[in-house]
C-alpha cells in the first residue's frame, strides 16, 4: 500500500512539474498527419540543441483551434502558438495579446524577402515568425490543352479567354471550381481584384477602408461576371466541394483549376505527368505582380510564462536549415530565402519561381478580411457564381456588413 501511495505522489508531482521553468508549451493547429510528423522531427532537432528545455506540444484540429485560441490566449496562454499572418494576426496584436519579437528578428531580417516581412510587421514592430508558405495558381491538363491546340499556358487575359473559348467549343468545361464551402470562390475575387487594381487597393479593401460599392470593386465583379457568363466554370460548382471539383480535373472533364499548391499531393499517379502549373495571367499590365501565398507563422503570446525559451525556439525556427528540412518533408516553401530549396518537386519549383516575381503576397480573403465581412463576402461570391445577373445587390450585401463591422 505504501509503495502505491508513494507512486501516486510521484505521479502527481510529475504532473505538476510539467509546467516548471525550462519548459516550453506549444499550442499547434497543424493536425494533418504529415505536418505533425515533420513538426515532431523539428522538435527533436530543437531538443538536441537545447537539452535543458522540456517541450510540451498540444495539437488541436484546425477548426477547434480557431475557436479555442480566443479562450486561452487572453487567460492561460502557452509559450508558442501557431497562427496565420496578416489581418487575422492583427486582431490579436491590436488587443495586446501578442509579444513583439524584434530582438529575435535582429540580424536575420536580411534572410527574408520584403513581401514576407511585410505580413509579420504591424505598426513598425515584428510580432510573428514565419515557417512556411505556399503559392496559388492554375493547375491544368497539358493533354487537353494540346488537344484543343494550345501550345503554351496563357500569360495575358486575352490569351486566357481565348483558351476558354476553345475549350468550350470542344465541350470541355474550361475551369473547375467547387464552392460548397465558399472559400474557393474567394480565391477568384482575390486574384481578379489584385490583378486589376493592384495589391495596395486590395489590402485597403481587406482592411475595411475602401467601399465595396465603389467603381473599382464593380469593375472586378464585371470581369468575373463576364467569365461566368461565358461558361468558363462547371455548372455544378455550388453543390460540390473543392475536392470533388478536383476530380473533374483528374477525370479530364475540366481543363484548369485555380487552387493552392496543397492540391498537388492529391494528383493521381496515372495522370501525374499531364498536370502542369501556370500563374494567374496578367490583367492590367500597369499594376505590379502580387500573389496569394498564405504564410503559416508562430508567435509568443503576451501572457506566456517562458518567453526566454520561446524566443530561443523562434530563433531556431527562423534558421535556413530548420526551414529547409521541415518544408521539404511537407512540400511547402521555406520563408527564409537563404534556405536551399528542394529541386525535386516541379510544382514547388514553379511556385518559388512565381513568388520570386511577386512584389507582395496576400494571405487569402478569409485571412485578410474581418471574419464577418469574409463570411458575407464568400456568401455573395457564391451567389454571383450561381446567378451572375445582379452585381449591385451582391456588393450592397457585403458593404452593409463592412459598414457595421468598421463602425464599432
Amino acid at each position: 500500500m505504501s509503495t502505491f501511495k508513494a507512486k501516486t505522489w510521484a505521479f502527481i508531482l510529475f504532473l505538476s512539474s510539467t509546467a516548471n521553468a525550462g519548459d516550453l508549451i506549444i499550442n499547434s493547429m497543424h493536425s494533418d498527419p504529415d505536418v505533425k510528423k515533420a513538426f515532431a522531427q523539428l522538435l527533436e532537432d530543437f531538443k538536441k540543441e537545447n537539452s535543458d528545455i522540456k517541450v510540451v506540444l498540444n495539437t488541436t484540429s484546425h477548426e477547434a483551434y480557431k475557436v479555442q485560441i480566443r479562450t486561452w490566449l487572453p487567460n492561460k496562454a502557452p509559450d508558442i502558438a501557431t497562427w496565420f499572418a496578416g489581418n487575422r494576426a492583427r486582431y490579436f496584436i491590436d488587443k495586446g495579446l501578442v509579444e513583439p519579437i524584434d530582438d529575435v528578428w535582429t540580424g536575420i531580417d536580411k534572410q527574408f524577402s520584403d513581401s514576407i516581412k511585410d505580413v509579420v510587421t504591424f505598426n513598425g514592430k515584428k510580432y510573428l515568425m514565419p515557417l512556411s508558405y505556399y503559392n496559388w495558381g492554375f493547375y491544368y491538363r497539358k493533354d487537353i490543352f494540346e488537344k484543343v491546340g494550345v501550345k503554351t499556358p496563357p500569360k495575358t487575359w486575352a490569351e486566357f479567354t481565348a483558351i476558354i473559348e476553345k475549350l468550350n467549343k470542344a465541350s470541355i468545361s474550361p475551369i473547375a471550381i467547387g464552392i460548397k464551402d465558399g472559400w474557393p470562390a474567394a480565391a477568384w475575387f482575390d486574384y481578379l481584384n489584385m490583378r486589376i487594381h493592384g495589391y495596395k487597393f486590395h489590402m485597403s479593401l481587406m482592411a475595411g477602408t475602401e467601399s465595396y460599392l465603389g467603381p473599382k470593386v464593380k469593375k472586378t465583379f464585371e470581369v468575373w461576371q463576364s467569365l461566368i457568363k461565358s461558361n468558363a466554370f462547371n455548372k455544378s460548382a455550388a453543390a460540390i466541394s473543392w475536392q470533388e471539383a478536383s476530380a473533374l480535373l483528374w477525370q479530364g472533364k475540366a481543363a484548369m483549376y485555380l487552387m493552392g499548391n496543397f492540391i498537388t499531393t492529391q494528383i493521381p499517379k496515372n495522370i501525374d505527368d499531364q498536370i502542369g502549373f501556370f500563374p494567374f495571367p496578367t490583367l492590367n499590365p500597369e499594376v505590379p505582380n502580387a500573389e496569394v501565398a498564405p504564410v503559416d507563422v508562430y508567435f509568443i503570446p503576451a501572457k506566456a510564462a517562458h518567453k526566454a525559451e520561446a524566443k530561443k525556439f523562434l530563433a531556431f525556427l527562423a534558421k535556413p536549415e530548420t526551414q529547409q528540412k521541415f518544408n521539404q518533408s511537407v512540400k511547402l516553401m521555406p520563408t527564409n530565402s537563404t534556405s536551399k530549396t528542394d529541386g525535386g518537386d516541379r510544382f514547388l519549383k514553379a511556385g518559388i519561381e512565381t513568388l520570386s516575381h511577386a512584389k507582395n503576397v496576400s494571405q487569402f480573403f478569409d485571412r485578410d478580411a474581418d471574419p464577418e465581412v469574409a463570411k458575407a463576402g464568400m456568401d455573395s461570391f457564391v451567389e454571383l457564381m450561381a446567378r451572375p445577373d445582379d452585381i449591385d445587390t451582391i456588393a450592397k450585401k457585403i458593404e452593409a456588413v463592412r459598414l457595421r463591422v468598421y463602425k464599432k
Binding site: 475557436v67 480566443r70 479562450t71 487572453p74 460548397k180 473533374l248 463570411k375
Partner: protein
C-alpha cells in the same frame, strides 16, 4: 421511526439529478438569455449588458438587428418549410406502422431494413444524400440519364440553385430516418392496444376505414402527441444534416435558425448576437409546443 418525512426524502433522492439538470440545462438557458443582451466577442473579459457599457445603446439591440437582418428571415422561412414538409414524416411513419403491424415472415426483415436509416448518424445520412444528389456523379443523375429523362449533357442541378429548391433535397434526406423513427413509435403504440376493442368494433359492423379513423387513431393519441412534438422539435432544431449537406448554402439558401446561430457565434465570434438567435429559437419552440399541448388538453376536456 422515520428518519425524514416523505417530502424531505423525495428531495434527497432528487438532489443528484436536480444538481445535474440545473448545471447542464437550466444554467445554460439562463446564461444564454443573459448573453443575448451583451455584445460579447468571446475574447474580452466577462461581458456586461450593452446598455451598461454604453448607455446610448439599447440592451435589446441584438434583437433589433436580428429582426432587421435578411438572413434571419430567410432562415426563419426555411424553418417554416421544415415544419411543414418534415411534418409529413409522421404520416409516413403511421402508414408504415399500420402496414407492418402484422405477423408474417416477411414483415420483420422489411421492418429492420426500414429502421436502418434511424440507426445511422445524421451525418452519415447527410453524406449519403449529398452523394445521391451530386450533380454529374450522383445516383439521381445516373438514374435520370439512364431513363433518358435528362439529356446526357445536362445535370440534375437541384442543389446548385439559389432560393427554396435546395431545401427540398435537405428535407427529403431528413425525412428518410425520421419516418423510420415515427414508425417505431407508432408500432410501439399499436402493440399496446387491446385486441378485444378491434374485435368488438368489427362485430358491430365497422369497416376497415371506420376502424382506423374512429378506433385506432383515437387510441393512438398518446403516441401521436410524442411523434408530433418530436417532429416539431426536429424541424426547429434542424442543424446537423444541413451543415453536412450544404452548410446553409448555396449563398444561405438552406440556412436554418440553428445553423445561423452557430455561424454567428463560432464563425463570426459574435457570442451575444448568436445568443439572441438562440433565445428567439427557444421562444418559438416553447410557444409552439405549449400551444399544441393546450390544444390537446382542450380536446380532452
Amino acid at each position: 421511526m422515520k428518519l425524514f418525512d416523505d417530502s424531505k426524502s423525495a428531495w434527497v433522492f432528487l438532489a443528484p439529478s436536480l444538481v445535474l439538470y440545473g448545471l447542464y440545462v437550466l444554467f445554460p438557458i439562463v446564461f444564454t438569455f443573459y448573453l443575448s443582451v451583451t455584445a460579447w466577442d468571446g475574447i474580452s473579459s466577462f461581458p456586461l449588458p450593452m446598455c451598461i457599457t454604453d448607455p446610448e445603446t439599447s440592451c435589446l439591440s441584438n434583437f433589433k438587428e436580428l429582426f432587421e437582418a435578411g438572413l434571419f428571415w430567410k432562415s426563419f422561412t426555411n424553418n417554416l418549410l421544415w415544419l411543414v414538409f418534415f411534418g409529413i414524416s409522421p404520416l409516413f411513419g403511421l402508414f408504415l406502422a399500420l402496414f407492418f403491424h402484422v405477423k408474417s415472415t416477411f414483415a420483420s426483415p422489411l421492418k429492420t431494413l426500414l429502421f436502418m436509416p434511424m440507426v445511422f448518424s445524421l451525418i452519415v445520412v447527410g453524406m449519403i444524400w449529398s452523394w445521391f444528389l451530386q450533380p454529374g456523379f450522383g445516383l439521381v443523375d445516373t438514374v435520370l440519364h439512364f431513363l433518358k429523362v435528362l439529356p446526357p449533357d445536362q445535370e440534375f442541378g437541384l442543389m446548385t440553385k439559389l432560393g427554396l429548391a435546395p431545401n427540398a433535397g435537405v428535407i427529403v434526406a431528413a425525412i428518410w430516418p425520421h419516418s423510420a423513427y415515427c414508425m417505431i413509435l407508432y408500432l410501439a403504440g399499436l402493440s399496446n392496444l387491446p385486441k378485444n376493442v378491434f374485435e368488438a368494433a368489427l362485430i358491430d359492423g365497422a369497416n376497415r376505414w371506420q376502424l382506423l379513423w374512429h378506433v385506432i387513431l383515437p387510441m393512438l393519441k398518446p403516441a401521436t402527441i410524442i411523434v408530433v412534438i418530436v417532429t416539431m422539435i426536429g424541424a426547429l432544431r434542424a442543424f446537423d444534416i444541413v451543415a453536412i449537406m450544404t452548410n446553409g448554402g448555396p449563398a444561405n439558401s438552406t440556412n436554418t435558425l440553428a445553423l445561423y446561430m452557430y455561424q454567428e457565434t463560432f464563425i463570426n465570434f459574435r457570442y451575444g448576437y448568436g445568443a439572441s438567435i438562440a433565445v428567439v429559437l427557444f421562444m418559438i419552440s416553447v410557444g409552439l409546443i405549449v400551444a399544441y399541448l393546450r390544444q390537446i388538453k382542450k380536446e380532452e376536456a
